[in-house]
């Protein structure tokens, strides 16, 4: 990552492994895939592979001022997927390239960039 020093300390992606269905999710409350409250919290690496992405040019009203912006589907190394904002020039992204967590926005969620 080539982000500024503030970025290096911000980004920690929290997840959980459900003890009922065994699945991982990006959440620290209930399992997003079965609703169980029983699970073990863990910190995810934040490293993954970019599956696909798009640059949003017609945005919903609340994000209209930010457009264009890029949203992608990332498969984390732990095996779970996450839909997230991407930073960097969209023309330079390629399918299955490595990406890493760059920041976590309190409203928009995790933001990934090229690794």
């Amino acid at each position: 990552m080539t982000g500024g020093s503030e970025r290096q300390i911000v980004a920690r992606l929290h997840g959980r492994r459900c003890s009922e269905c065994g699945k991982l999710s990006v959440a620290d409350g209930r399992c997003r895939l079965c609703g169980s409250e029983r699970g073990e919290a863990l910190t995810l690496s934040g490293n993954g592979t970019l599956i696909s992405w798009t640059t949003i040019r017609i945005a919903p009203a609340r994000y209209a001022a930010e457009a264009p912006y890029t949203v992608g589907l990332v498969e984390l190394d732990e095996g779970l997927r996450v839909t997230a904002r991407l930073e960097g020039e969209p023309e330079r992204f390629t399918s299955r390239q490595r990406v890493a967590l760059a920041a976590i926005d309190p409203v928009r969620g995790p933001i990934f960039g090229g690794a």
Partner: protein, 386 residues
């Protein structure tokens, strides 16, 4: 379960219907369907009404009983059905079940939507409520965006080309020219599609449906009574209804929608038919790539072969299976809550032999309705009553 037939089908034109409220549109389509089936209003025992964004864009709740009241049907049970862009298909499914189970003899299924009075940003935000706000849509993803992500992955995995996807738009705009109910009645070329304005890369303007107003309605009754009302009743051979992941991240493979696969399996099993038996289909082309995915999920073409199929003309008139002869959502228009009923309206016209782009010898037709990025789907198989 009793066999069920469609004896009346009605639809407003799709487009900017100025001066017509969301209720007016539904009433017009219902009256059209009742007149088509020569059914008297007092015979109707239930109304199922599909609607997705009426509360948000038209400031109107209580929509089903309100429409019934404006039809002079106050008193009957009225149910509004919301399943994103599959609301209309689910409404029909429930009307059919009500008659099949013997609860009612005559039921109305309808769908209505009023969208053109709102700004594009407001419509985009309203449609985005079909996704999961907490785990996906908070990122700023939109539905064009979700399907753009699907399109890029389909291209990566199967070698589907930008031009192949554009052919869906060319075909459907071409069909729309002849459909008097269609919002867009102008042909487009591959060159125009790939040069049109980017909406969510790689999806462009001509890959998307317009923002539309419109309504459609269907009257169903037991098949053994259908001939008393229409000379050419259409039998509901099978129906399927299934749910799927609400988000992209929940899916290991975003190039397929399991809800469509499940709904199709149910409908085909009920009908005792296979995809090869279908002559024409109205499929949910909410974006060009969605038609390609649907043709694969419905079993018309092998996985990854939907792109070459449309490019080589297999889904045009004279092809193996004619897809969206009405013009589809892309050209006919997509008043989201009405679409599921409108698709069936178009298949009914085809099977009666009086459609705009008539498929010769059409005996078996299919309608496929999809909500969100695959969160819900319905599949309806229809045929002429023997």
């Amino acid at each position: 379960m009793r066999d069920v037939a469609i004896i009346g089908a009605g639809s407003t034109p799709f487009g900017r219907m100025e001066g017509h409220s969301i209720v007016d549109l539904a009433v017009a389509a219902c009256r059209d369907a009742l007149a088509d089936g020569r059914v008297e209003r007092r015979q109707i025992q239930a109304l199922y009404l599909g609607n997705f964004v009426g509360e948000r864009l038209a400031n109107q709740g209580s929509l089903a009983p309100l429409v019934a009241a404006r039809l002079g049907l106050t008193g009957i049970p009225c149910t509004k059905v919301e399943g994103a862009c599959a609301s209309g298909g689910i409404a029909l499914r429930h009307a059919v079940l009500g008659v099949a189970l013997g609860l009612y003899d005559f039921a109305l299924a309808a769908g209505t939507e009023k969208m053109t009075a709102s700004s594009t940003a407001d419509v985009t935000a309203a449609l985005a409520t079909a996704g999961d706000e907490t785990t996906e849509m908070h990122t700023g993803l939109t539905f064009p965006g979700a399907f753009a992500i699907v399109m890029r992955e389909h291209m990566h995995r199967f070698g589907t080309t930008r031009e192949q996807v554009a052919h869906v738009s060319v075909k459907n705009h071409g069909f729309g020219v002849a459909n008097p109910k269609a919002q867009f009645r102008k042909p487009v070329t591959v060159e125009e599609v790939v040069a049109s304005r980017l909406i969510a890369d790689p999806l462009r303007l001509f890959d998307c449906p317009p923002i539309s107003d419109g309504a459609a309605a269907l009257v169903v009754c037991p098949a053994d009574r259908a001939r008393d009302f229409h000379a050419a009743p259409i039998r509901v051979l099978g129906t399927g209804h299934a749910s799927g992941p609400a988000t992209l991240w929940e899916s290991d493979d975003i190039t397929t929608f399991p809800a469509t696969v499940r709904a199709a399996r149910e409908a085909f099993a009920m009908a005792g038919l296979s995809p090869a038996d279908v002559h024409l289909a109205e499929v949910h082309d909410c974006f060009t790539i969605a038609e390609i995915v649907a043709t694969e999920d419905l079993g018309f073409f092998a996985k990854g072969k939907g792109g070459p199929a449309v490019e080589e003309g297999w889904t045009s008139l004279g092809g193996k299976i004619v897809l969206n002869p009405s013009g589809g959502l892309i050209s006919k228009g997509h008043p989201v809550g009405a679409t599921g009923c409108a698709q069936v309206y178009e298949v009914v016209k085809q099977l009666r032999g009086d459609a705009a782009n008539q498929v010769r010898g059409a005996e078996i037709g299919l309608a496929h309705n999809l909500g969100g990025s695959g969160v819900v789907s319905t599949v309806t198989l229809l045929g002429r009553l023997a």
